[in-house]
């Protein structure tokens, strides 16, 4: 069954099949992301997540599918909507949650916050809050990998709205011209902040319809099908790793919540919301596993353990101290400080 609004022939059909351990891994990641983000939302409502936060609820299959297809050495670049990608690459949940709460135990000691999650140790090269910017940064990661002879692929995630900003165009053209090992992934959740992407875009498929402008094949996939994501990712990462250049993949999906913070998303038509509620990636995947013979108890156990992990992270983050005032002036420069004079 194709996602709401698309027909089967719109979709790129990846080859291959997903084996049992990978499938369980895909399920586990999606569950962890789901539990984490629901908690982040609750904590936002409790005013414990300060500032803002952008959730990927309903979009977890993309982060899960790509992360499963990546090696630990590969690079991820994400947007302000980056919780899912950060966790999927293996960043410790405790530190991610503490960062959202602005604690000293946060991944960035509170300096970055929800919009700038970064975990270089796990290949998560940053969350960027200016739409489009990181597409150009990803180019350099691809270039250095090739130059240094490292078989690393760079995967860069961005929204449908980002396809209309100039940096998108410059990045895609340079990646193609230099044949860089970079995979560009448009998470088309059909909205910018509150404006539907179709209202402001010259083509129907904001990323796929632009691929030929960079000499690339248009690839549109069901972003709510973790298997399709994983198989497509595996294919194009493999190609890039082999030196066959970049790819642009549009993953069609839907965010089931508002854009950020407590946005009630009144701008979304009720029937659209209802159709997508029936097309939830986690529900779909659970059903698929059950249909494939995985016992419900196994899945329930995964869910329970994710809940426990989230509870533990919450408790830890709440108990953690705020960053000390000394943090304010550290790490502007590589010498650890921020002095601009002698």
């Amino acid at each position: 069954m194709p996602p709401p609004g698309l027909s089967a022939q719109d979709l790129y059909t990846p080859v291959g099949e997903v084996r049992a351990p990978v499938a369980l891994d895909l399920f586990r990641t999606q569950v962890r992301l789901r539990r984490f983000e629901k908690r982040a939302y609750d904590l936002f409502l409790q005013n414990l997540v300060k500032g803002t936060s952008h959730l990927s609820l309903g979009m977890e299959a993309i982060a899960a599918g790509f992360a499963a297809a990546m090696t630990p050495e590969d690079y991820t670049f994400a947007t302000y909507r980056g919780h899912a990608h950060t966790l999927a690459r293996g960043a410790p949940m405790d530190a991610v949650l503490a960062e959202l709460l602005g604690r000293d135990t946060g991944l960035l000691h509170g300096k970055g916050g929800s919009m700038h999650l970064t975990d270089v140790e796990h290949g998560m090269m940053g969350s960027y809050a200016i739409v489009g910017a990181h597409l150009t940064v990803a180019l350099g990661a691809g270039w250095s990998a090739r130059y240094l002879g490292r078989p690393r692929v760079t995967v860069v995630f961005f929204g449908d709205g980002a396809t209309n900003i100039g940096a998108f165009h410059e990045a895609l053209n340079l990646a193609a011209t230099w044949r860089l090992p970079v995979v560009f992934v448009c998470e088309n959740n059909q909205y910018m902040e509150y404006t539907p992407i179709r209202a402001v875009t010259a083509v129907r498929r904001p990323a796929a319809d632009r691929a030929p402008a960079y000499g690339m094949e248009p690839v549109l996939i069901d972003g709510n099908d973790a298997d399709a994501v994983f198989l497509t990712a595996s294919h194009f990462l493999g190609r890039a790793r082999a030196g066959d250049g970049p790819a642009l993949i549009e993953a069609y999906t839907y965010r089931s919540t508002g854009h950020s913070r407590a946005d009630p998303a009144h701008y979304k038509p009720a029937d659209e919301v209802a159709a997508w509620a029936k097309y939830d990636p986690l529900d779909l995947y659970r059903r698929r596993l059950l249909d494939g013979g995985v016992p419900a108890a196994v899945l329930d156990e995964i869910d329970a353990s994710a809940r426990q992990e989230v509870d533990a992270a919450t408790a830890k983050a709440k108990a953690a101290p705020a960053p000390g005032p000394d943090r304010l002036l550290t790490n502007l420069w590589a010498d650890g400080g921020s002095s601009w004079r002698n």
Partner: protein, 325 residues
Amino acid sequence: MAELTYRDAVARAIAQEMARDERVVFLGEDVGAPGGVFKATPGLLERFGPERVRDTPISEQAILGAAMGAAMTGLRPIAEVMFADFFAVCWDVVANQIAKARYMTDGQVSLPLVIRAANGGGLRFGAQHSQAVENWAMAVPGLKVVAPATPRDVIGLFAAAVRDPDPVLFFEHKALYPAKAAVPDGEIVDSLGTAEVRRQGDDATILALAAMVPRALAAADRLAEDGIEATVVDVRSLVPLDTRTILREVAHTGRLFTVEENPRLLGWGAEVVSIVAEECFWKLDGPIVRITTPHIPLPAADFLEDQAIPSVDRITDTIRAAMKS
């Protein structure tokens, strides 16, 4: 007279000018149907229609380019850049095109346009959504630069900006959007290039802008408890700059303090200090002191952000210490 938030003042100001002049059009991301990300522009689409109130893609260069092209061919556009930080993605249109077109063509081209942006910190949005960048604009010849501190000034200065024949960058402070104050009914039109003396004293002159104005006033009240009476000037407009008021007030007290939200180097205060150090030198009774955010990007965590931006405590303590020494 009605109590109005700074946020509501924005919508009223835009409506006031759009109702007055059909050539005034408005464009930006999520400004129309959704009423703006800061809910500062609701109702405008319904009232003025989709040809005058236009939602755009995420294309800041195209937004400002369109505003420029429309201004040079007969319209008076208002463009929104959602966060002032995003000026960086369209700085060429602002600094190289809009600012220079009239001069380069020796007056052939007129650009009556206003660019609004949500500026400043305090909302824990982190380094890429919290910057106070009025100084970026002040450094570029050809731009007028305004930053209101009160709901009334939002309306009056905005109206002045829209009616001005030159390009104006209008910095709304996002931490002030919920701030309320009484605002007269009916049309309000102010003048660019006029500072407001918000408090009068004989001992020290404090200059502040936007969200730093209430903090400077609160600090002045505290200083008064110690017997230091400070004048507080709300600068309001960086270009044109009301040097007459500033120099007069500094000459009166002999001491100058600036309170700036921007990072330390080359904030707007540096210009004012330099003007005073040249033109008012002989009236100075002591060092000029700038109270600013340190020269760092803004951190996201509430505790850290509060340490970074000048607080009432820090303003008070700094001035008290400087006045003693």
